[in-house]
Symmetry: D2
Subunit: 338 residues, 4 copies
């Protein structure tokens, strides 16, 4: 942390401030020059009450240097986190493939798709039961009934199931029934939900918020991990930018950044990022090439009649074709698919 | 709604699609030309399952024309909504002033500030009890104890209290104890929370999300209103943009836009937008000049020792000075202050 | 400037780096701690070749502390810059009003509008002769003929003229004929143009780029000032954000920021920011309330038949009405209008 | 194009408006319903003066349907454009590799790097002679001397040279000496420069502006093509978003979008997007996987002593290693490298 002082701060006030920050147990060193005085701090600066320092009348501003996340930080855990889900591993040298429809619609639909993607080597089945929709008048998912259908599909195929939680009220149900609990982009900073998920042992798939920086995203992972649950899978699903042709802009550069800053696995959701089915294949190839640990893709056997997001779903045939190409690219970056 | 068809769609497929959309009870008219065919739809197009239409193989894309919000829409309710809180009214010709500290710290602090701002004509007292913090390691508020202290301050001054709810678990407590329930920017699309707040009668102060469009913000209001609670106060607190000098960019143009699109009152939070106390006064003046229905401002008797956001709080003296200037500007735009 | 070193950098390498930066004539002080080492630099750090330091294998990253602009910096010139244009002054306690059509269309049009706005106290006449249009197929302005018509309007009313330069090829013509040379948002970082304008004495109205930070904008002013021309007027015309209802988002918080960082005058263009005529009046009032030094507004006697931007132009009647209200607000913030 | 009318527009006014738009030679069809009336237009709507329609007092707003670009539009030219540069082709099944230093520093430097990258199969040599720098006090390039050194490197290796033009004043020199003329991101909407480049036959490498939408970028290509020069190569170099860890956010989804909308080749610049050398390799692999026609990469033999952007340059060794991996990925997407 660096404290930039206002011009004309007295020697006495500077010394008082240095004493104050040292009381938090950090090292502080003054650098003075014409028209500028700064205090450099090193050590565990997360202990410092920033608000108090910033409100000091002699402080112009504060700049952070240290990353504010600890448990998610690769600096403190060098090895990749590998998360066990049923028989599958997520992270490390594995390329995880999660596939399934936007929302669960019927037993026939979800079981049918589950069988198709299982055959093609998918690691897990996705499917929305509780749907976060911008409009209260849109289809909100089959809710508990949808969850039951996902369980049927799991029983038939052995695939672990991934589905989104929308409320702390549902935590008990999800802990019992769901294999990977998804936190949606809109709830990435629903801190109360994150805290309660931190009490579980279940893997959490944490989607990046629409305008969340990588640091904020890792801080949300930190909320879960601080509670004791270190099984966090990050998922990039596009950020909101000035481009309006695509629904969101897939930030693939987040992959090498996360790999540098954190030991957590990161997967890519090209379906929601682009919002267009014909962009899913090229973005998936790019995601694997850039080093992602996996993909979560919307696959629907009948996109034209899907109850939601049909325009961004690919068919099992397109999915099969894509998988073949991803295998070659995976080999270039040292990853293996099922 | 306008459906843009792909080149080469057959007459038969076009007719089938027109029949399909008409089955939702809307008017549909075809416009054909060289290299382009579109279908114009009018009526209540919110009834249409957009996903199905978008996934149709002949559909290039869909463009919305109608605003998707109904109860929040000025088209369907011309008069300004005026919300009663205790003896105070919010909306219409009233300029509402909500003031208080970032977080409740002690009885002395909150009661002291409450008395100061009451004297200066404030309509309500703000103060955080449950605090949404980016880091799990930061001060999270005094929680229930903070709520008790707010009630003491209310008892001493008669000021209604405004404080943020972070979880559906707290709805009963907030319904009983809080006068205006605040939904924070990070929970603007926590749809489960919005739905449950829609079951109450209490006024809801709905902050705009960091990257929410005005339409999305009104759709979140719609979630609350669809449940039966029409007492929604919108609050602009800055959006995330490319500018990094200010914490967020206050979007004052949202005020005339909201006034055109909706009948709901809108207030401005300059403290969180700028993140710097010296910007609170100019932004507050601009907010009143642009036509806002009120302000929510962080006031602290001792910013240097505030437990959070001290750098953006103004003192009661600065607040008093500001109020005098706002009165003149309010008169230019047809508003009255207490 | 602060240099953050990589973990494990040797004492020797640290000392070598400190010698290297000291050779640029700045003070450097080391702060060491567990897992983090930083070097704080004060003095004229703009002399340092940042690229070389950043590419050093031991450097994790660099953080700037000092503002990179010098001549535009209020730190080095406390008093407001006041720019003389004909009999008018821009900056200080004056509220400047620049008005006129988007583009010059005919002698009758430009002279007619000039007379109207002159009567209402305008300081200068705006009008586009060379128009930057997104499409090569749109009307590109009357070009040199438009400039001649502006000169006629100036001769008839005495109003100085403001118009946009699009190319260095036109510098001689603009120097001779134009009173305030406008640099458009799209050319804000056309550095060659800025350098050549720095050789003139004419006032330059420098619009903010669509996604330019305040710092970059001031650096573009610095380009002009570094050449010797200190007559720079900054103009905020909205930035591109996630909001799409308005054409751009007017960043009114830029006004207090510029006032703090720089001594240059700043005016607001509400017409281009919002792109809607009904938003011009509220945004103008807000601009004056927030402390701007003036406004540049599109006024057209017949918006429906304007050759460009008719939808954002107000009529002379609307302008007259607005001016009355601005006078009251100006008095609150210590400004005077003609 | 769709015209949305205001509520309560009279039959007569509607008919007048329909006549008006039909006079531009397009088809117009009315769709009426309760509370909403729209006019659908098809045909060459670029002929319509939008400004006039938008300013019509009965018009609520206009929505575009047709892409505004013509010559750049794949709709009107199905086959990929392939651009000949010396013996090399850019576009189609070729994967173009352009490599070289940020700026030309000396004969030894530029010739040395040119030989290295030539050996590794590069298609062309990049190197800045005129540098667009945010600060007037930064190194501005060797200018004409740098251009001479690039010519020496070309003579020694046979590699065509790519370098940036900053001003229309330099067009004659660039036409004579440069093989591919680069337009930088900051000049993407320097329309005067684009128009003059449209008069040449030389290939133009058009970088995307920092906050340019894909449509605006293609409209800038259209400016060049409208003048007669159809040799435009698009180059994505990152857009400005809310993420601040990377210098810009590489928008790889732009590649499939451009491929759908246009026949022009598109290459990726990972060096400027990320601003960090360790991200160049993963982003390059992703760029090839997503379907780009090539890469432009900063390669420097001594990044630590580079005069600019050393932190984002890779060494010839790293470049060689990358090329091997790209060959495999290229084969998956049907591309061939030298």
């Amino acid at each position: 942390m660096v404290i930039i002082l206002k011009d004309g701060t007295s020697k006495e006030d500077i010394n008082k401030l240095i004493e104050q920050v040292k009381s938090f147990g950090v090292e502080a060193k003054l650098t003075e020059g014409v028209g500028q005085t700064i205090i450099g701090l090193v050590g565990d600066t997360t202990r410092i009450n920033r608000s108090k320092i910033q409100a000091n009348k002699n402080v112009d501003r504060i700049m952070s240097i240290q990353e504010p996340f600890k448990r998610a930080n690769r600096r403190f855990k060098q090895d990749d986190t590998i998360i066990q889900v049923g028989n599958a591993k997520i992270g490390g040298e594995v390329l995880t493939m999660i596939a399934g429809p936007c929302s669960v619609e019927s037993e026939e639909q979800i079981v049918g798709i589950a069988k198709e993607v299982k055959k093609l080597g998918a690691t897990a089945l996705r499917g929305g039961a509780f749907k976060p929709r911008t409009s209260p008048y849109s289809f909100q998912g089959l809710e508990l009934e949808g969850l039951e259908l996902l369980k049927v599909a799991r029983a038939e195929t052995g695939l672990p199931i991934v589905t989104e939680i929308m409320s702390t009220d549902m935590i008990d149900v999800f802990e019992k029934d769901v294999d990977i609990i998804q936190v949606g982009a809109r709830n990435m900073q629903n801190f109360d939900l994150l805290k309660q998920l931190g009490q579980l042992k279940k893997p959490i798939l944490l989607k990046r918020g629409l305008s969340a920086t990588i640091e904020e995203w890792l801080m949300s992972a930190e909320y879960i991990m601080a509670g004791g649950n270190e099984n966090v899978i990050l998922c990039e699903r596009g950020i909101r930018t000035i481009e309006t042709y695509t629904r969101n802009t897939q930030d693939l550069s987040a992959v090498p950044v996360i790999k540098k800053l954190s030991h957590l696995p990161i997967i890519i959701d090209p379906s929601h990022a682009a919002g267009k089915s014909w962009m899913v294949a090229p973005l998936s190839k790019a995601a694997v090439a850039v080093g992602a640990d996996g993909l979560i893709i919307e696959v629907h056997n009948d996109p034209t009649n899907a109850l939601c997001d049909g325009q961004q779903s690919i068919t099992p045939e397109q999915y099969a074709d894509l998988v073949e190409k991803l295998k070659v690219i995976a080999s270039v970056v040292g990853k293996q698919m099922n």
